[in-house]
């Protein structure tokens, strides 16, 4: 099947006082049209930087894309200049962020910010205004007419995230990048927002790249998952396969460390040690230091085995390599 988004060997690095921090260091994945790919990983694994790299929104001047290819609709959009990217941002690829409280301009009305998303892409102001009302209604704001004239601080966190969704979907993008869209919200609001996103995704036939650390959300929403660790994808598979049968020791550890009723009275699995320093990745397998199944081979960097459509694992263990055949 033709891929909507294809990221190849992406490297996004940062110049810092400690040297070059290789936050994203050779990440590859793809997103099929209308489908959802989740990127999961713990804090500092590079998942958010990966998302920002796609829109070339990595915080400059410290951050830069060192190498890699990002194909969107067949075109390598890394070739585009920053200015050329503007036509793509918000129109073809939209993005929503984690912090609904700070992601909206505090001194502009909701209507203004929503209309702007359309007028910068050529829609005339009255039409944008009309569509803004329609969108606010669609994302479930109680009084969309009033909301147009309201300022962000007058809305609750959940409502603001709905406005962010409306802004993102204003131009019917082909791809939505959702970077931890529900992390800052209460659990009941999380559920509402996630189901709204899913609903709108189906309605618009849009593809989604979901960045999250919440395995529960992944399990409910994503078709495919890529698990990131230390700036790399360590395992990728269709969601069901990955959840039923995680192969990488890190993924296995992640699942085994989840607290649950049936683990009461027993110790949870832990991953001892800490993530290595991004300014100084180990030369071999980056997980080796915390891995319970470490082999001699692990002092050499493992490749990402397997095909893109089924399962890929970055591990030297025979049990991990076997499934990729």
């Amino acid at each position: 099947m033709e891929k909507l988004l294809q990221v190849d060997d992406l490297r996004t690095w940062f110049r810092t006082s400690r040297g070059i921090v290789k936050a994203v260091d050779g990440v590859s994945f793809d997103v099929a049209p209308g489908k959802t790919r989740a990127i999961v990983g713990e804090s500092g694994c590079g998942k958010s930087i990966t998302a920002l790299s796609i829109l070339q929104l990595v915080p400059e001047p410290a951050g830069y894309i060192e190498s890699g290819k990002i194909h969107f609709g067949g075109e390598d959009i890394l070739e585009r200049s920053w200015t050329d990217m503007r036509g793509l941002r918000g129109r073809e690829i939209a993005m929503i962020f984690q912090e609904p409280m700070t992601s909206l301009n505090p001194t502009r009305t909701i209507g203004w910010q929503l209309s702007e998303a359309m007028t910068v892409h050529g829609k005339d102001a009255p039409a944008a205004r009309a569509r803004a009302l329609e969108l606010l209604e669609r994302v479930g704001l109680r009084d969309p007419n009033a909301a147009l004239r309201q300022y962000p601080h007058e809305l609750s966190g959940g409502m603001r995230q709905r406005v962010m969704i409306a802004i993102a979907l204003a131009n019917r993008p082909k791809l939505l990048i959702a970077d931890e869209p529900t992390t800052a919200l209460d659990v009941t609001v999380q559920a509402q927002i996630m189901s709204l996103i899913k609903e709108l995704q189906d309605e618009l036939g849009m593809a989604m790249l979901l960045i999250t650390h919440d395995l529960g959300i992944v399990s409910e929403v994503a078709h495919d998952v890529s698990v990131m660790y230390a700036g790399q994808v360590v395992e990728a598979a269709p969601t069901r396969d990955l959840f039923h049968d995680p192969r990488h020791p890190y993924t296995q550890g992640l699942f085994a460390s989840l607290p649950a009723r049936n683990r009461r009275g027993k110790d949870l699995m832990t991953l001892d040690g800490i993530v290595p320093d991004a300014a100084n990745w180990p030369t071999g397998c980056r997980f080796a230091e915390r891995c319970a199944h470490r082999l001699d081979a692990c002092s050499a960097p493992p490749a990402l085995h397997g095909s893109g459509t089924h399962r890929q694992v970055r591990c030297h263990l025979p049990s991990a390599m076997e499934v990729t055949k």
């Binding site: 810092t16 006082s17 400690r18 921090v21």
Partner: protein, 337 residues
Amino acid sequence: MSPTLLHLLYNLSPLALIGVAVVIFLRARQTPLWGEAFRRLARNPSARVAMAVIGIYATIGIADSVGWYDATTQERRTVIDAIFERKPERTYSAPLAEMTTGEAKPQKIREKHILGTDSIGADVFYRTLKGVRTAFQIGGMTVLIVTPLALLLGLTAGYYGKWRDDVITYIYTVLSSVPGILLQIAMVLVLGKGIIQICLALGITRWVGLCRMVRGETIKHREREYVRSAKALGVTDMVILVRHILPNLLPVVIISTTLGFSNLVLSEAILSYLGVGVPDNVGSWGNMIDAARDELARDPVIWWNLTAATGAITGLALSLNLFGDALRDAVDPRLRS
């Protein structure tokens, strides 16, 4: 006490000051924040130049603070006096001039006055050097008034809140409502001229800004979890203020003090110009600039007196500003990763 002994004691004060500074520096270098900040400063070229310049000024100031009792003139003479004092000429001469003008018998003065003499014949270079100590005295003493006052009141108001906060906020609102320069003028007018009086006037008007900042920061820190967990352990308020909150405020306090110091040096010149500054018999850049006003109006123009004072004061203020900026960059947590 014999004058000689008095002067010896007098000499100890700058040395004690240096000693305290060295001890503080060495202790600070042990802590991760300041240790890292000093390393960053040492790497920053403009900070290095600024520190070198400040060091030169400080050396001059200290040399001018170490002296002895001269039995013949019955006055105190300092190291600077001994090395740089020149006999006044009868009238002005340009920098490195061959001769003074207006003399009945022109005498050779070459290399006597490298920056020339002013309209009454005083050596400009010597006067410029004498201004250094005054500048440091005013800056330093004012800082010694401002910082403890602002810290004490700001921490109290911010931490305890309630009526203490109301009273302190009221006091500084009233003080800051009077435009600073007017209050300073009024105070010196009432207290009379003198270095201590200027420091008092500057101190009373300057502590408000720092106090307001300290209060705001303290309120922020008061709500932080580390303060709460200390309270839960039973740590007393006094210890929380001194051991927990104060060290976290020090970076902003030190930076604002450094930048404030340069401002104080400049303020002295303005106050002296307004006639409410340093007494005329004390060497100060403000007084030199004041005198230069007439020297520019005459013909031929005497420009070197103004230029020397301006150069000296700008050099010091600029170095302090650059150093303060570099220090801010060095401790700014946003730049840390």
